[in-house]
């Protein structure tokens, strides 16, 4: 280990974040590899190592002959200060080598609040943050992940965006870069060739013009670059790579357990949910393979906890059989099995009761809206009866704490819908009174609200976000309505983060200046309240002469050219618009299992969709 780094590690909190050397970390011989890939996650080690996508792509890349993929995470403030003080450049955890000498520096973008982290990490690496200031002597900077579905706010900083699932696309990118290296292509030449790989978006090959009102006028590809970039998917989940032998961190991370991926996509079609649209079509793994992967992963990792992760786990058709199979292994081996993202229905509840052996911790449900009308409008397929029946089962079974999540500011919402949240929470309370086996123990019902953020590639991509004042008014309304209910606690998220997310989620290229200004003024790790400053961001907008409310509070026209229109996730724009109209009529769209409503995503998989 580098002496200076060693000294630095003595001065920081949780140094194990920065050492590498974990079990199963891939260490290759520098002499035998010809391609170095830095997989960067613009948040802390604990968050990044909990990301299944990182583990998958790390495995896929390291399986390639001659390629060495290493991990890099955003340093916490104390470590960043030390790195800047000593001048140590950001390094790959596996080798300790500076990533500025690597061939590719790739970022995984999961949430907008990590954008300043990208700039900060490039800078810590000793690289120019703007793509225009880099050339073939610098690593190629790429990015992927769910935020890449609207890549425009980061277009000035990133050379290439990889849209969609990376298992097949990234190796193709690496091979192309290798060829370019061998043949001595210029950066421009490399970018032109990369743009020919399906799913690759090279922002510098496109020219954008604006109208006087600030909306987009045109979006023109340079000769040869595709006009539409279609996301990549893995067609067959049974053949997709799963990281059985994955890195076991030597320090605690957020999701410190085996994560099985049952399927990709979601059959539900909640209209506010970006993941529900961009991960279509639905593709499942077979239960036999999952059971084997789960057991092998426990044996290989030593984890004694396993979770079944997918967007809506209870929609996996053979879930009961899979759980039975896994429990046969888990119980005798002291491995606990858990299900996240539960739906409030009988099926999920009975399954959960079977899995829950020990302490009964809190239950969480996300009805999202307070009235049936609004739940229909957002296509959230949960009825009051479903929810109350689930709560009854839970209370009877000994649970005494329930968390309910809602969004305020959903399209078509009225005050009646807001007050409906209070009614629903009260009904949950009365349900508890009716059936609690031990009423003396009391009950804790927690209601949480956050401010709805309209996202690209959803039926609400044309919508305005509530103003922060409007959100606060609704919060006050709800708070007053719940004032007298001693057993109900009301928590609300502050709207400032949601506001900024809304700007970045549907922003265009002009935001680059704002992001850079905020970062130069000290913004980093914005997902952490320790570091986030709303004022700093507003200052950056003022300095750049951009009005954030243009992005946040404006309803887009049906035919407006949207900044992300060159990217398709497979779902047709007309389908999204139709869904929006259904919302305004408070009409639900049946889930994909009841009836395929023709979103178009199955075209990406030869017409096959497991929905």
């Amino acid at each position: 280990m580098d002496r200076q780094l060693e000294q630095v590690l003595h001065n920081v909190q949780k140094p194990a974040r920065y050492t590498g050397g974990e079990y199963n970390a891939v260490v290759k011989d520098r002499e035998t590899v010809d391609f170095r890939f830095a997989f960067c996650f613009p948040d802390t080690y604990e968050i990044g190592m909990s990301n299944l996508g990182l583990r998958i792509l790390y495995g896929v890349l390291n399986k390639m002959e001659g390629v060495w993929c290493e991990r890099v995470f955003a340093p916490w403030g104390d470590m960043e200060d030390e790195l800047r003080r000593t001048g140590l450049p950001l390094y790959g955890l596996e080798s300790g080598d500076p990533i500025r000498d690597f061939d590719v520096v790739g970022f995984s973008l999961g949430y907008e609040m990590a954008y300043t982290g990208v700039l900060d990490m490039l800078d810590l690496a000793g690289l120019p943050v703007r793509a225009a200031d880099r050339d073939e002597h610098h690593p190629l900077v790429i990015a992927g992940g769910s935020c890449a579905y609207n890549p425009e706010p980061l277009a000035a900083f990133v050379d290439v965006f990889s849209i969609g699932e990376g298992e097949e696309a990234l190796p193709e990118l690496v091979e192309c870069c290798r060829k370019g290296k061998a043949e001595g292509w210029s950066r421009k030449e490399l970018l032109r060739r990369l743009a020919q790989i399906p799913g690759m978006y090279v922002p510098s090959l496109y020219t954008v013009t604006y109208r006087e009102d600030g909306t987009l006028a045109s979006f023109t590809p340079e000769e040869g670059a595709p006009a539409v970039i279609t996301k990549r998917i893995v067609g067959n989940m049974d053949q997709a790579y799963f990281p059985v032998d994955t890195i076991i961190p030597s320090t605690e991370i957020v999701h410190d357990r085996v994560m099985l991926e049952l399927f990709r996509g979601c059959i539900r079609g909640c209209r506010f949910c970006q993941a529900g649209y961009v991960y279509r079509p639905v593709r499942s793994r077979s239960k036999e393979l999952l059971a084997r992967q789960g057991k092998d992963a426990c044996r290989s990792s030593g984890y004694q906890e396993m979770t079944l992760s997918s967007l809506s786990t209870s929609d996996y058709p053979p879930l009961v059989e899979l759980c039975d199979d896994l429990l046969d292994y888990c119980v005798p081996n002291h491995v606990s099995l858990s299900l996240p993202s539960l739906r409030a229905d009988n099926f999920s509840m009975s399954l959960m009761q079977r899995l829950q052996t020990g302490r009964k911790s809190g239950l969480t449900f996300a009805p999202e809206a307070g009235t049936q009308r609004l739940r229909d409008a957002i296509n959230k397929d949960v009825t009051e009866e479903d929810l109350l029946t689930s709560c009854r089962t839970a209370f009877t079974g000994g649970w005494s704490s329930v968390k309910l999540y809602f969004m305020l500011g959903l399209p078509t919402e009225t005050d009646e819908d807001v007050l409906g949240i209070a009614d629903l929470a009260r009904k949950v309370y009365f349900t508890w009174r009716e059936c609690a086996p031990d009423p003396k123990r009391g009950v804790r019902i927690t209601v949480s609200t956050s401010c709805f953020v309209p996202k690209s590639h959803t039926p609400f991509q044309w919508e305005a976000q509530n103003t922060m004042e409007e959100y606060q008014r609704k919060v006050n309304l709800l708070r007053d309505a719940l004032k007298r209910d001693k057993s109900i606690t009301y928590n609300w998220h502050d709207p400032e983060t949601s506001y900024l997310e809304a700007v970045l989620a549907r922003g265009d290229r002009r935001l680059a200046d704002v992001i850079e200004a905020a970062w130069r003024d000290g913004a980093k790790l914005d997902a952490w309240s320790e570091y986030f400053s709303f004022e700093r961001w507003m200052k950056a907008f003022r300095r750049c002469g951009l009005d954030p409310s243009f992005y946040v509070h404006r309803v887009r026209e049906k035919d407006e050219l949207l900044p992300w229109d060159m990217i398709t996730a497979g779902v047709r724009r007309e389908f999204l618009w139709r869904e929006r109209e259904q919302c305004y009529r408070a009409l639900i769209t049946p889930n994909c299992r009841r009836q395929c409503t023709g979103c178009g995503a199955n075209r990406l998989n030869g017409g096959v969709c497991d929905g």
Binding site: M1, R3, G21, S250
Partner: protein, 223 residues
């Protein structure tokens, strides 16, 4: 319950694994090595292990002791072999044996403390200064603690030092010292702290602590 012991070393990058994290690492390592060990009772049974005398973050050691219980008999060499294939870089099991003396008989720890200076002359001055400090009747150091209101307690290090010697090679000064292990023990860092407090100008650039051996009351290796 705990009828077996491991002797292991912690070095390299693994020095930055905290005590709690190291326990978790071993629990998982046993599991992935396919060595069933005894579990605690209760709702959430977990593999029971205990590591004697936690090592400070950043220190290396070649004499760490871990206690555990085997569920089924397995030869010591086999435990060592399998575990070493299941541990992260820098943690290496040296021996596995049955029984052992009560941990409370672990009386002393033998440390090597390396102090690095920018140049030879500074290291030489530090050698003389430490010689003087350690030769005193009493040497009181402030030790940071969360318990005391003022944020520190005062510790006299001298009674907890059993032996010491100093040698210098170039710009590196090495303190070889045997210190009380427990009730109460002495962290060698406090000796460096004493030097920093008494002679701030002779604070080393870097210091490295390494545990060489665990000893019993008679000064014999403790196992």
């Amino acid at each position: 319950m705990v009828d077996h012991r491991l002797l292991f070393e912690k070095a390299g990058r693994a020095r930055f694994i905290s005590h709690l994290d190291l326990m978790r690492t071993f629990q998982r390592a046993f599991f992935r090595a396919g060595i069933p060990i005894k579990h605690t009772e209760g709702f959430h049974p977990h593999a029971f292990i205990s590591i004697a005398l936690p090592l400070s973050l950043g220190y290396s050691s070649q004499c760490e002791i871990l206690e555990f219980g085997l569920q089924a008999p397995l030869a010591g060499e086999e435990v060592v072999r399998r575990l070493n294939g299941a541990l992260p870089e820098g943690v290496r099991v040296l021996d596995c044996y049955e029984g052992g003396r009560p941990i409370k008989q672990l009386a002393f720890l033998d440390y090597r403390v390396d102090l690095d200076y920018p140049e030879q002359s500074a290291a030489e001055q530090a050698r003389q200064a430490l010689e003087e400090l350690l030769g005193r009747e009493s040497l009181v150091v402030r030790k940071k603690t969360k318990k005391a209101k003022c944020g520190y307690t005062e510790v006299d290090v001298i009674p907890r030092i059993r032996s010491w010697s100093l040698e210098r090679e170039g710009a590196r000064l090495t303190l070889n010292t045997v210190l009380a292990a427990q009730n109460p023990g002495l962290n060698p860092e406090l000796i460096v702290e004493a030097l920093r407090a008494e002679r701030p100008e002779l604070a080393p650039e870097l210091s490295w602590c390494h545990r060489r051996e665990a000893l019993d009351e008679a000064g014999q290796p403790f196992r």
